[in-house]
């Protein structure tokens, strides 16, 4: 598998791109014609109140999932149940109950961790078996799932085609449920980066190193284009800052961030974390229209960003990502 020069590399090699880049930096991007809704809801703890909160969140987004197959994609990383590394199982269970209550025909849970191969053991350690009845029957290990070879529509990375999990591809609605975390390679890991878990480890290995060689930011942006029906529910009740996404520290924020446009959701999360979304490479790449990242281009509901802003500690290499005061 030899990565080809990417569109970004070609563009970056031209003087015109430099000019274009300068324009982007200096001109405020125009807001999209139809702004996407992103809601911020306070959730101070992982407790029973989450069930009602998530139901109200889905109702607020007017999601019609009646008769649809829904796949919830949490972020499972490490065997550390006491840390803030994995998406909390109570939030995942609350989401499952809410989607079922909204009329979904099926709500499965699926994940393909990037480091640990024994996914069910990892889920067990993270509390999923204890929290979610019949978890094993509901769960699909995306690392070991049947696959389809898919061409990336936008061709942003060096990977012309990629094998992806059939469970993720076949979902009527793919719900990305990441933990709000810093990331030592791309700055922040949120709903878009979480989709790396749909790339099967049984083909690409643990970690999915092919995505690193093809450009992590480019691959995040490419993956985003493969799944047209997405929703994001970000677990920011307790996030992770510092040297995330594995060795960082718990960071209580006390919110859940949701929306049907992962770009808008991730941009909002960045602002909550004190990160400038325009400085996150994969968000810039994925946003053909940078207005989708602009604050005025997002229909913000629930809490305001200012009310919940919780600056995350960043490793020295990423101090340049900070939002201007």
């Amino acid at each position: 598998m030899h990565p080809k020069p990417t569109r970004r590399q070609w563009i970056a090699g031209s003087a015109g791109a430099a000019l274009l880049s300068g324009c982007r930096t200096n001109s405020p991007p125009a807001a999209p014609a139809v702004p996407h809704q992103v809601s911020i809801v306070r959730a101070p703890a992982y407790d029973q109140s989450l069930y009602d909160s998530v139901r109200r969140i889905l109702a607020g987004h007017r999601l019609d999932v009646r008769g649809r197959s829904v796949v919830l994609k949490p972020n499972l990383v490490e065997f550390e149940p006491e840390s803030s590394i994995n998406t909390h199982p109570l939030l995942v269970h609350a989401a499952r109950e809410a989607f079922l209550a909204a009329g979904a025909a099926s709500v499965r849970i699926a994940e393909g961790p990037g480091h640990r191969r024994n996914t069910l053991d990892l889920a067990d350690a993270a509390g999923y078996f204890r929290t979610i009845p019949k978890f094993e029957d509901l769960f699909v290990d995306l690392n070991l799932d049947d696959v389809t070879h898919v061409r990336f529509p936008a061709q942003l990375s060096g990977l012309e085609k990629v094998y992806l999990s059939n469970t993720a591809l076949g979902a009527d609605l793919l719900v990305s449920m990441p933990k709000m975390k810093t990331h030592h390679l791309v700055g922040a890991t949120l709903s878009m980066k979480n989709l790396f878990g749909t790339v099967p480890g049984a083909i690409y290995g643990w970690p999915k190193n092919a995505l690193h060689w093809a450009g992590i930011a480019d691959c995040i942006a490419d993956l985003h284009t493969v799944y047209p029906r997405q929703f994001a529910i970000v677990d920011a009740i307790v996030g992770m800052d510092g040297n995330g996404p594995i060795q960082g520290d718990p960071k209580p924020v006390g919110i859940v961030v949701t929306g049907d446009d992962p770009l808008a959701v991730d941009a909002t999360c960045c602002r909550v974390m004190g990160i400038d979304p325009f400085r996150i490479a994969y968000l810039r790449l994925a946003a053909a229209d940078l207005g989708r990242l602009a604050e005025q281009g997002i229909l913000q509901t629930g809490e305001t960003i200012a009310a919940v802003a919780t600056p995350f500690r960043l490793i020295p290499e990423f101090q340049g990502l900070r939002l201007a005061p």
């Binding site: 990565p3 030592h184 390679l185």
Partner: protein, 304 residues
């Protein structure tokens, strides 16, 4: 690094949990391969299932598995992770572990050549030249001690390197050659260079981006197996870590590899019995448990 005779580690025991060969045979797909747990056939679980069946003297089902493997071999000498995937990957080392009598002399020979021709991208001249032209630092050890990647054109990692070493070690004992010996030795140096400070192995670097990484039970067990007979401070620390993991861990996958690693260094507790509460959920977990049990009773597929 000094290679020597391994200490005796086999511990005869009776099976102490109800893992059945019939259940394994019952999970075989109509095409002859095995899934990881459900769905289509994959190379990795099929190899482990074949090992488990042959270790127990069950040939009919194993032969159908071997036939399926033969049907998906690639022209470059390698194996894909499953039928229809258009690249050979690290699973080629697993197939080679089955040996020429099972795989067939010609396909086996091509698999060994594929392994000898495959290195982590960081060890290649082209990559190092590009990094040099860009003014980036590269490690001399990367060039001297190449490992194996999960898929070609990617970096070397602990798991595929360990599996390749195990396959080449078996080949070297069958038919000694300088080229094979050299790659085994280099691969072992690759592993020793990536040992974590606390002992044991993560999946890759011991200090990604300058931060120390934590060891994992499964990778520590597998890497220890690949370092059979090696005496070094890293192996000593890893054995201590492996024994700690072994006492605490309840993952079937991790316990399988820890049993393997501890046994080949003569450190598996006598009369070992799988702890209660360990769930064998996948075909590789089930199969490797059977393979390790047979090895502890003297029928060792990896070294036999």
């Amino acid at each position: 690094m000094k290679a020597g005779v391994p200490e005796a580690g086999a511990v005869p025991r009776q099976p102490c949990h109800p893992m059945s060969l019939d259940a394994l045979i019952g999970r075989q797909n109509p095409d002859g391969g095995w899934p990881y747990s459900r769905g289509g056939s994959w190379t990795e679980p099929t190899v482990y299932a074949i090992m488990a069946l042959l270790s127990a003297g069950e040939t009919a089902s194993a032969q159908r598995g071997v036939a399926w493997l033969g049907s998906i071999a690639r022209r470059d000498g390698g194996w894909p992770p499953r039928a229809g995937v258009d690249m050979s990957t690290w699973v080629t080392g697993l197939v080679a572990l089955l040996g020429p009598r099972i795989v067939g002399a010609a396909p086996y020979g091509r698999a060994i050549h594929w392994l000898l021709d495959t290195t982590g991208e960081e060890s290649t001249f082209a990559y190092r030249l590009r990094e040099w032209l860009l003014g980036n630092n590269t490690s001399e050890n990367d060039a001297k001690f190449p490992g194996w990647p999960w898929v070609p054109s990617n970096a070397g990692w602990v798991v595929p390197t360990s599996i390749a070493i195990l396959a080449l070690d078996k080949e070297e004992r069958r038919q000694p050659s300088t080229g094979v010996h050299h790659r085994i030795d280099a691969g072992r140096h690759f592993l020793l260079g990536r040992a974590c400070d606390e002992g044991g192995w993560n999946y890759g670097s011991s200090h990604p981006l300058g931060y120390p990484s934590l060891a994992y039970p499964e990778t520590t067990g597998l890497a220890l197996a690949a370092l059979r007979g090696v005496r070094s401070p890293q192996v000593g620390r890893a054995l201590v870590a492996a024994q700690r993991f072994f006492a605490e861990c309840r993952s079937a996958d991790a316990l399988n590899w820890l049993r393997f690693g501890l046994r080949v260094h003569g450190k598996l507790p006598a009369g070992y019995c799988t702890p209660s509460g360990v769930e064998f959920r996948t075909i590789p977990e089930t199969s490797l448990d059977l393979v390790m049990t047979a090895a502890e009773q003297g029928r060792d597929f990896f070294w036999g």
